[in-house]
Symmetry: C2
Subunit: 167 residues, 2 copies
DNA sequence: GATCAATCAATCGCACACGATTTAATCGTG
DNA sequence: CACGATTAAATCGTGTGCGATTGATTGATC
């Protein structure tokens, strides 16, 4: 029995917070697609453009920190953005290991387009803005907790498992 | 200016609810991985096993309804689960278009293992259970709103865009 | 200042997600 | 019964995510 009073055999998708997040994230990506298609960018590429709009000339690693992604995902994505003319990639002169990425004129324009398009999405969902800010905070806190516990797990021996509610 | 008082140029990742969900969902998948690795299944496969545990002998389409996925994703995934001996796939005798999927003995056992492993994850995150249930409900409602608005968009002409807060 | 460890990006392989199309089976209408 | 329309699953191509490894550069220690 779990703390929710469920036997493990009775756990369903409705009980899993992870599935709520997974399916909501997929739904968002689908909702964005029609608008981003017109701009010829993907959802992940859009997130990179937003990142660079806030702080330009970042290294691949710095982009990864902000998006919680690594070079194995970012390098090919950035190459596609470069091929499309939205970013510039060049090795840092002071440290040739690093690659610095910056928005081109075109990239900055597309970023603006995408952000404006994004805002129209809000009209289609019923939640109030207060709810949205609060929800964002809760989800972010959960993500940070998961990330932190993963880091700890790498630096500490395994703990004895303790049953708890559906995630 | 958005309702949040942000110019589009000033929008950052912190303002985007979609990014909170995206990064949290990725974090969950990473958190699950060490446990699911031992069971030789992926996170998506785990979700399918949970689905079939609640209602066995579903068609591919019925699994897709529950997970918000389509046959292009599910068919290869189910073939891998079948190859691993966790599910059985056979065409429905009454309607040969459909493929019915059911858990094998081994699949049911693995599902139980995975669910039990899952529950140990909860120990590592600080949120109370009330918060978790409430959060799950909010995220699910948001996902359903996004899904609904996508369906409506397919059946209705485009509406005039109205600026709103960061999603 | 030579050498070894650490760091950063890139590469490789695999498993999703998903738009678009195809194939096969069933249904609806005449 | 025929035949076009509909439905279900499968197939194909592209773009992520990510574990594992590699290659190149820098840093640390002697």
């Amino acid at each position: 029995m779990t703390r929710d009073g469920l036997k493990t055999e009775e756990i369903g998708l409705e009980d899993l917070l992870c599935f709520a997040l997974y399916s909501a994230s997929n739904a968002f990506s689908r909702a964005y697609r029609p608008m981003l298609d017109q701009l010829q960018i993907t959802y992940a590429q859009y997130l990179v453009l937003v990142t660079l709009g806030a702080a330009d000339d970042l290294t691949v690693g710095e982009i990864g920190e902000r998006l919680f992604l690594e070079s194995n995902t970012l390098t090919p994505l950035l190459k596609r953005l470069e091929a499309a003319g939205f970013v510039e990639r060049r090795r840092d002169a002071n440290d040739e290991r690093q690659v610095r990425v910056r928005l081109t004129e075109r990239g900055r324009a597309i970023r603006g387009e995408a952000c404006r398009a994004t805002l129209t999405l809000a009209e289609h969902i019923p939640q109030g803005l207060d709810d949205m800010a609060s929800l964002r905070g809760q989800v972010t806190a959960l993500r940070d907790a998961l990330t932190r516990s993963a880091t700890e797990a790498r630096n500490a021996p395994p703990r004895p498992p303790i049953p708890a509610a559906g995630l």
